[in-house]
């Protein structure tokens, strides 16, 4: 089975993670722009970070045979520095049309302050102006009403629900998100967000339509294999394979694929020129696709004693 992790902060992860992810069947990921654990103080820091999302990190993932996409936006926590947030808003249009940018994100509310609201709305307007999808981060605290409010404002600003991904759902929020026609993403994250046994029960109860899961792995305790692990648990506990595939691959592709930037052929049937330039993965469809240079490295197990 192939997997997509549609929310993972690879900038904070190591090459061991990339190797393990590729070995576990992850073919593509979406890396949302977010905060770095401590607030940035200069607009230049955002420029360098976003450039790395469309440049270095995209290249780095490709070396492991994983396709890298990203979302670009000002996260809700840092929106609270209003003077800086204004400058960030100015530079966002420079990035929204870059290759592999699938949505404006992750944006939304953290403390649900008036300033957060201002920049959430401003970025929804940008999404409308650039005809883009939106990836919404729902707040950890006061989650249920924060989620409702995120959807209310998205609609008020003219977004169609089918072009908005509501992320970090739980048992309390999922029903309303699905009923209103939005995509419902679940973050499988130890300790704070969803555990994966709970996710199995959600899949049992709600099926697979417009539902998908992600790891949101970052610089905290998190698991970049959360998607494949949860898929295996679902199969083990009797969720139909077709549903598991939708939840762990197909739906994320369908949701973010609406951008026109993310296509299955990118990993199943990479164009030869692109393979020469960027992508080190094997072509699945073309048996004898021209490989230029050395074949992708076989993962070297991190517990090996001898390395050359």
């Amino acid at each position: 089975m192939r997997f997509i992790d549609p929310h993972i902060h690879m900038s904070a992860r190591t090459t061991d993670d990339y190797e393990r992810m590729a070995a576990a069947g992850i073919v593509a990921i979406v890396e949302p722009a977010f905060w770095l654990g401590q607030p940035r103080t200069q607009v230049g820091s955002y420029i360098d970070y976003m450039s790395s999302l469309v440049g270095w990190e995209r290249f780095r993932a490709a070396q492991f045979g994983i396709r890298h996409y990203c979302t670009i936006g000002l996260n809700s926590k840092e929106a609270n520095n209003e003077a800086l947030a204004e400058q960030v808003l100015e530079i966002l249009p420079r990035y929204l049309m870059k290759e592999g940018v699938v949505a404006v994100g992750e944006i939304g509310y953290d403390d649900q302050t008036p300033v957060e609201d201002k920049f959430y709305r401003a970025q929804l307007s940008l999404a409308k102006e650039f005809d883009m999808l939106v990836q919404v981060h729902t707040p950890h605290r006061d989650k249920k009403s924060g989620t409702t409010r995120s959807m209310d404002v998205a609609i008020e600003m003219g977004m169609e629900p089918g072009r908005v991904v509501i992320d970090h759902n739980n048992e309390e929020t999922v029903e309303e998100v699905l009923d209103r026609g939005f995509w419902a993403a679940f973050t499988i994250y130890p300790h704070t967000k969803m555990g994966n046994e709970r996710m199995v029960e959600i899949a049992r109860k709600y099926g697979s339509e417009r539902i998908f899961i992600d790891s949101s792995s970052d610089w905290g305790v998190s698991d970049p294999l959360a998607v494949p692990k949860t898929a295996h648990l679902m199969l083990e506990r009797g969720i139909a394979a077709r549903d598991v595939e939708e939840i762990c691959y197909g739906n994320a592709l369908q949701a973010f694929g609406q951008s026109g930037q993310m296509k299955e052929e990118h990993w199943l049937d990479p164009a030869p020129i692109d393979q020469r330039m960027l992508f080190e993965g094997n072509s699945v469809l073309r048996g004898q696709a021209p490989r230029v240079g050395e074949p992708a490295a076989v993962p070297q197990h991190s517990d090996a004693t001898v390395f050359k």
Binding site: I47, G55, G260, I273, L278, G293
Partner: protein, 286 residues
């Protein structure tokens, strides 16, 4: 014909109606003094508007390229790269403005843009002005970006000073990029580079790691003393391609001792004089 006109003709002959129309109006806006923002947005939009297929130039068209700019070899360019370089040239202005805009574009570039901007180096106004930009491209760890400067691009051989040139050649070996597509590789061979390459070969041997046979190409013309001993070692112990490379290198050495060494291996010596071995074949094993 100017390179911009040549590129414009290639694209006009290849793009479907709406893509051609979009490019034409973008170019016109920039030629008429478009703003920085017009340039940045149109450069970003290129793959969405016209795709990334190969440019696939005919032999005649490649001839037009060389006529427009000696040494320019866009054989491996794609449509998006050609269009991006065209947009930059359309907005050109004076060298200072061009440089400022190029720096801005590079600061927020994605990988595809970087490759296009560096491939365009030999076409930009005020050529010596872009030396630091080229050096920045060589400094990257993204192989495709490095190769945009180093491969089939005459800029480096024309503009880089010897230390920077030598670093570029050595780095190509480090990151597994081939030497053969480097324009001016033989012309710019120098004793300091030969020394660095032999030291590098010794490091690799000491670590039990393979040495690219292409390395000896830049050693040959300056090989003397210990370097000849290195080549003798390769002739004696090397793999097939390594021995062919050592033989070719020795044949390019002005030192009479080199031909003496080569004569000890009549078969290799004959292969060299009958041109049965070549650097191109060594760089592109079947």
């Amino acid at each position: 014909m100017k390179p911009a006109i040549v590129i414009e003709q290639w694209l006009a002959a290849r793009l479907p109606g709406d893509a051609a129309e979009w490019l034409k109006s973008s170019v016109q806006r920039l030629r008429g003094g478009g703003s920085d923002k017009d340039l940045y947005m149109s450069v970003s939009l290129v793959p969405r508007k016209i795709g990334k297929a190969d440019l696939a130039l005919s032999a005649t068209e490649l001839g037009h390229a060389t006529a427009a700019r000696p040494g320019w070899n866009p054989r491996e360019w794609s449509l998006d790269q050609a269009a991006r370089v065209l947009l930059l040239l359309a907005a050109a202005g004076d060298g200072a403005t061009f440089s400022r805009r190029l720096d801005q574009l590079c600061a927020t570039a994605d990988v595809g843009e970087l490759v296009a901007f560096y491939r365009g180096l030999p076409l930009y106004p005020d050529q010596p002005r872009h030396v630091l930009r080229a050096a920045e491209g060589v400094r990257t760890n993204m192989k495709a970006v490095f190769e945009a400067v180093a491969h089939r691009n005459p800029y480096a051989s024309e503009q880089l000073a010897e230390p920077a040139w030598n670093q570029m050649v050595l780095k190509a070996l480090f990151i597994g990029a081939s030497l053969d597509p480097i324009v001016g590789l033989d012309r710019r061979a120098n004793p300091a580079l030969a020394r660095m390459l032999c030291d590098y070969a010794h490091e690799r041997w000491a670590a039990g790691r393979p040495v690219s046979p292409e390395l000896w190409r830049c050693v040959g013309p300056h090989a003397r003393g210990d370097m000849l001993a290195d080549l003798a070692r390769v002739l004696k112990k090397g793999t097939g391609p390594e021995r062919a490379a050592a033989a070719l290198a020795l044949s390019s050495s002005p030192d009479p001792a080199a031909s003496g060494l080569l004569w000890e291996y009549p078969e290799l010596s004959a292969a060299v004089s009958e041109k049965k071995v070549s650097w191109q074949a060594i760089a592109n094993p079947a």
